[in-house]
C-alpha cells in the first residue's frame, strides 16, 4: 500500500481494512494523529485527504483517495502556520490532546471560508470534542487566524 503524507511517499504492509488512523500511528509512528473514540465522535484523529478534513479512524487504508496532510504538513515549531500562530497567541491548549484535530478542522474551514462568522465556526468545529473546554479560545483563535490569513 502506497501513501503520500505531507509530500513524502510511504509504503506500508498493512491490511486494506485497517483504519488510516492506526496505519499512521502504529505503522508509520506519526503520533500527532490522535486516537480518541474510533467512531468519528471526537475529531482527535482529523487529517486532510486531498485537502479535505476527514476522520482518519473512519477511512480504511484501501479507500484513501488522495494525498494525506497531517498537522506536520501544515506547519512546524520552526515554520508555524498562521492557524498555529493564532493557537499559540491565544494559548488555546490545556491538555492539548484534541488540538491537532481542532487545528486541522480549522484549516479546512478557513480554506473554504476566509471570513467565518461565529455560526460558521460552530457549524464547522462542533464535531471536534475538547474535554478541557478550550472552546472560547478556539473561537477566538479561528477568528484571529482568519484575519491573519486574509491580510497575508
Amino acid at each position: 500500500m502506497n501513501l503520500t503524507i505531507n509530500g513524502t511517499a510511504y509504503s506500508v504492509d498493512l491490511p486494506d481494512d485497517m483504519p488510516l488512523l492506526w496505519a499512521l500511528r502504529d505503522g508509520l509512528n506519526i503520533t500527532s494523529v490522535k486516537y480518541g473514540c474510533g467512531i468519528a465522535q471526537c475529531g482527535a484523529c482529523t487529517v486532510h485527504i486531498g485537502g479535505q478534513a476527514v476522520r482518519s479512524c473512519q477511512v480504511a487504508l484501501a479507500d484513501v483517495w488522495g494525498e494525506i496532510t497531517t498537522i506536520e504538513g501544515l506547519g512546524t515549531p520552526d515554520a508555524l502556520h498562521a492557524i498555529q500562530e493564532a493557537w499559540i497567541a491565544h494559548q488555546v491548549a490545556q491538555c492539548g490532546y484534541c488540538q491537532s484535530g481542532q487545528i486541522m478542522q480549522a484549516a479546512d474551514l478557513l480554506a473554504q471560508n476566509p471570513a467565518p462568522t461565529d455560526a460558521d465556526i460552530d457549524a464547522a468545529m462542533s464535531g471536534n470534542l475538547c474535554r478541557c473546554g478550550t472552546y472560547p479560545r478556539i473561537r477566538a483563535a479561528v477568528h484571529a487566524a482568519a484575519s491573519a490569513m486574509r491580510e497575508a
Binding site: K34, Y35, Q41, Q91, Q94, C95, C130, R131, G133
Partner: protein, 747 residues
C-alpha cells in the same frame, strides 16, 4: 571531595521553611531532613543544589514533580523556580523526576479533614499540620485536589533562591568578589565589571560548597515573571502536534496490547477460549491480567480486533445489576445505620422543623466517567534487573510500588518516565491500567509493550464519580431562610479510592459531604448529615469530588428556600455569609453581571450559585434563553479568589474550562448500568459541551484572599447549580436530577 560528605551536608530539604512547625508530637522525627534524590545520579562537575534544580555544564534541569494533566502545572512549577533562579525557563529542561519523598504533597492530606477550608482556628491548624507530616513521612506524591500551587509555591521559589545564592557563592569563591556585589540575570552571575559567568560554568564549583540556605523570597512587587501574562512552556508543542503523551511512546521492537476486562467490574472469569483471537493477523499472545485478559499484537488495531474475538465466561460482580437497583440501594441507606457524619449542626433543626410547614426536595446526581480524551495507556519494558515504565500518572509513588509488587524487583530498579496526560479529571489518581501494562510486559521480558485501552474499555472500566442523592428540608420566615437540613447519601469515595492508593483515613468520610458541610453560610438552624451507602462498584475522584454533586444539591435547595422566602438570590446569600473572601466574590459577580434579580425578560432566565471548594470561593451567574431549538446558555460570569495568581492566562483557562466541564456533564452526561455493565461506552452517548453550545465567559480573579490556592477544580462545582437556577428562572421548572436533559432540551 568525598561523596558522603557532600550528601551529609546537602541532606536538608529546601522546603524545610515551607514545612509548618509547631506540632509537638514527633516533631524531631517528622521534620528531619529528606534526602535530595538527585545527588545519587550526578556525574563529575554536576550540581543538584536542591531536589528541584540540577545544573550540569550542558544545561539546567528543573524538577517539576506534579503531573501535568492539562492544567498547566509543569509550566507553573518551572516559573516559580525560575522567578528566583533568574533563568528563562524555556531554556531549561523540565523533568518530572522519579517518585521520591522529597516531592511529597502535604496539602492533599490536610484537605481531607472535618474542618471547612475557611476555618482557621487552633484545632484546625494543628490537625492540618499533623496531616502534612503524615504525608511527608509516607512520601505521598499525589497530584490532585487543586493542591499543587498551594503545596509547592514557597518550596519551589525557595529552591530557586537557594540555587541562585549558591551559584553566587561559587562565583564569589572563584573571583574573590564579595557575594553582595554580585547579581544574577538570565542564567548568569554578573560581576561589578560586567563580566558574565554562566551558571552552567559554575556547576562543579557550586557542587563543592555548602548550599546557601539563608535566603529571602522576593516580594511580589519585584516579580518579573510570576503574575504576568506569560506563555505556557508546552504551548508550541501542543499547537504543532509535537507534544508526546503517554500514548505516543515509540520504542524499537515495541509490541502493542489492549485489555478486555469484565464489564461487570471485579467479577472475575470462570474461563476463556483464546483460540479465535490467537488465530487473527498479527496477534502474538493472550495474557491474563487483573480483571480480565490482554492481547499482545503487532499494532493496536490488531489487538483491538482480537480482543473482541476472545470468548470469555465472565462471572457477575457483587454490586447491584441495574441503575434502578442502585438508586434503591442509595434510598435504603438513608437510615441511622449508615449515618457517617454530621459535621455541621447549628441551632436546633429538629425543633425548627417540628410542626412547621417544611419545604422538601430530593436531588440526584448520576455516575459519571472521567473520559479524558487520551484513552488510558502505559508502555512497559521488563528486564531481569529493571522495569521501565512510560505513562501519565497522578500517583507516581503508587505506580513504583505496584511495579515492585508485580515484578518482585526492588524500588531502586524501577524507572518511571512520567509523561504529560491528555486530560485526566481525576482518573489517573488510579493506576489499574499501569498494573495491567506491567503484567503484560512481564509476560514477555525484554520486549517493550505499549498497552492502550479502547475508548469503550476506558468508559466501561472507569472508577466513576459515585451515584449521589440528597434530601433537603427547610423553613423560611419573614423573607429569610431560617432552617436548612440536608441529608446527602453516596457510597464512600474515601473508602473506595483511598483504599486503593493510600490508607483509609480514620473518622468520617469528609469527601462525601464536601461542598455541603463546609459552606460558609450562617443559617440559624443548619445541619448537614452524610450517609455512606454500601459499596457498589469501585468509585473514584472526579474533578471536585463530593462537591461536584453536593454543590448542586446544596445550592439548589438553598435557592428553593430563598425563592420560597421571596428574597433575592444574591442578597440573601450575602446576608447569610460572613466570610469576607466569600462575600467579595458574590459582590464581584453581581457587579460583573449587573445583577438585578433572576428575571431578565420573557423566555430568558438568570441563575446564580456559590461554592467554596478546595479553599477557593467561587460565584457564578448564568443567563439562558429558550429558543425554538431548545435552551441555550448565553453567558457565564465567574468571580473567584485563589489569593495570589501566578499564571493569569492559565488561571482564566482553568476557570472557564472547569465551568464548561461542570456544565457539560450537568447537561447531558450519565453512566447507567444494565447487567452490571455501563451502558454509555463512547462519546456518542456521553457528549458534554460542544463548541456550538459554548457560552460567552466573563471571569475575574480577585487576588485578595490571604492563602494561595489552586484553580484546577473550584469553578466546576457551582456551574451545575447555577445552570439549574437559570433553567428555573426561564421555565419555572427546577431540574432536581442531573443530567438536566431529562427535563429540558438544549440547543
Amino acid at each position: 571531595m568525598g561523596r558522603a560528605r557532600t550528601i551529609a551536608r546537602r541532606s536538608f530539604l529546601i522546603g524545610s521553611a515551607a514545612i509548618v512547625s509547631g506540632v509537638a508530637f514527633g516533631a524531631w522525627f517528622v521534620t528531619r531532613a529528606t534526602p535530595n534524590p538527585l545527588l545519587g545520579e550526578l556525574g563529575e562537575g554536576e550540581a543538584a543544589l536542591t531536589p528541584f534544580v540540577k545544573i550540569t555544564p550542558e544545561g539546567i534541569t528543573l524538577i517539576v514533580p506534579r503531573a501535568d494533566v492539562g492544567q498547566g502545572i509543569a509550566s507553573t512549577q518551572a516559573m516559580l523556580i525560575a522567578e528566583e533562579l533568574d533563568i528563562d525557563p524555556s531554556t531549561a529542561t523540565l523533568d518530572p523526576g522519579q517518585p521520591h519523598p522529597a516531592y511529597f504533597n502535604g496539602s492533599v492530606a490536610a484537605e481531607g479533614l472535618p474542618f471547612p477550608a475557611w476555618e482557621h482556628g487552633f484545632v484546625a491548624r494543628t490537625v492540618r499540620d499533623l496531616m502534612v507530616n503524615v504525608a511527608r513521612l509516607s512520601g505521598s506524591q499525589f497530584t490532585g485536589g487543586s493542591s499543587s500551587v498551594a503545596d509547592l509555591h514557597e518550596t519551589l521559589r525557595l529552591a530557586g533562591a537557594t540555587a541562585r545564592e549558591t551559584l553566587k557563592a561559587a562565583a564569589a569563591a572563584r573571583t574573590g568578589v564579595p557575594m553582595a556585589e554580585l547579581r544574577t540575570e538570565d542564567g548568569h552571575v554578573i560581576l561589578p565589571d560586567g563580566t558574565h559567568i554562566a551558571y552552567t560554568a559554575l556547576a562543579a564549583e557550586a557542587a563543592a560548597i555548602d548550599p546557601v540556605t539563608d535566603v529571602t523570597l522576593r516580594p511580589a512587587s519585584n516579580w518579573r515573571r510570576l503574575g504576568k501574562a506569560y506563555q505556557r512552556l508546552d504551548i508550541v508543542a501542543k499547537s504543532t502536534g509535537t507534544q508526546d503523551y503517554g500514548i505516543d511512546v515509540v520504542l524499537p521492537g515495541m509490541l502493542h496490547a489492549t485489555v478486555r476486562a469484565n464489564p461487570g467490574r471485579g467479577g472475575g472469569m470462570a474461563g476463556y477460549i483464546p483460540n479465535a483471537a490467537l488465530a487473527m493477523p498479527g496477534v502474538r499472545s493472550v495474557v491474563e491480567v487483573n480483571e480480565g485478559l490482554a492481547v499482545v499484537a503487532e499494532n493496536t488495531w490488531f489487538a483491538f480486533q482480537a480482543a473482541q474475538a476472545l470468548e470469555v465466561d465472565w462471572l457477575p460482580p457483587d454490586y447491584p445489576a441495574s441503575s434502578a437497583e442502585m438508586w434503591q440501594a442509595l434510598s435504603d441507606a438513608h437510615t441511622d445505620e449508615f449515618r457517617n457524619s454530621r459535621l455541621r449542626d447549628d441551632g436546633d433543626v429538629e425543633a425548627a422543623l417540628d410542626g412547621a410547614t417544611a419545604i422538601a426536595a430530593e436531588y440526584r446526581a448520576p455516575f459519571l466517567a472521567h473520559a479524558a480524551l487520551e484513552p488510558l495507556s502505559a508502555t512497559v519494558l521488563v528486564e531481569s534487573e529493571r522495569v521501565t515504565i512510560w505513562t501519565a500518572t497522578q500517583v507516581p509513588h503508587v505506580v513504583r510500588d505496584a511495579a515492585v509488587a508485580v515484578t518482585g524487583l526492588d524500588a531502586s530498579q524501577v524507572t518511571l518516565h512520567a509523561l504529560p496526560a491528555g486530560g485526566s479529571f481525576g482518573r489517573r489518581l488510579d493506576h489499574d491500567y499501569v498494573v495491567q501494562a506491567i503484567q503484560i510486559a512481564a509476560s514477555m521480558p525484554g520486549t517493550p509493550i505499549k498497552t492502550t485501552w479502547s475508548r469503550e474499555e476506558d468508559m466501561t472500566h472507569d472508577f466513576p464519580r459515585p451515584l449521589h442523592m440528597a434530601l433537603g428540608r427547610g423553613t423560611v420566615a419573614d423573607g429569610r431562610v431560617v432552617t436548612y437540613d440536608l441529608d446527602t447519601i453516596s457510597p464512600s469515595l474515601v473508602q473506595s479510592w483511598f483504599g486503593r492508593v493510600f490508607i483509609v483515613p480514620p473518622g468520617p468520610d469528609t469527601m462525601l459531604v464536601w461542598g455541603a458541610f463546609d459552606q460558609p453560610y450562617a443559617i440559624p438552624n443548619y445541619r448537614i448529615t452524610g450517609y455512606a451507602a454500601p459499596p457498589m462498584m469501585p468509585v473514584g475522584s472526579w474533578r471536585s469530588p463530593g462537591a461536584c454533586s453536593n454543590s448542586f444539591f446544596h445550592e439548589s435547595f438553598l435557592s428553593e428556600l430563598i425563592h420560597a422566602a421571596g428574597a433575592d438570590p444574591l442578597e440573601e446569600r450575602l446576608r447569610l455569609i460572613a466570610d469576607a473572601d466569600s462575600r467579595r466574590v458574590l459582590e464581584a459577580v453581581g457587579e460583573m453581571a449587573n445583577w438585578a434579580g433572576a428575571d431578565i425578560g420573557p423566555g430568558r432566565g438568570r441563575g446564580i450559585a456559590f461554592a467554596h471548594t478546595h479553599g477557593v470561593p467561587v460565584a457564578e451567574v448564568i443567563d439562558v434563553t429558550m429558543t425554538d431549538r431548545g435552551l441555550r446558555i448565553d453567558a457565564v460570569w465567574i468571580a473567584a479568589d485563589c489569593g495570589t495568581v501566578f499564571d493569569p492566562i492559565n488561571a482564566e483557562a482553568q476557570l472557564t474550562g472547569a465551568a464548561i466541564f461542570g456544565l457539560g456533564h450537568a447537561m447531558n452526561c450519565e453512566l447507567t448500568y444494565e447487567n452490571h455493565a455501563v451502558q454509555q461506552t463512547n462519546f456518542d452517548a456521553f457528549e458534554g459541551v460542544r463548541l456550538h453550545q459554548t457560552p460567552r465567559f466573563h471571569t475575574r480573579l480577585l487576588g485578595l484572599a490571604g492563602r494561595v490556592r489552586g484553580l484546577g477544580e473550584p469553578a466546576t462545582a457551582p456551574a451545575a447549580p447555577a445552570l439549574a437556577d437559570a433553567i428555573f428562572a426561564a421555565t419555572g421548572q427546577r431540574p432536581r436530577e442531573m443530567p438536566f436533559n431529562k427535563a429540558v432540551d438544549f440547543a
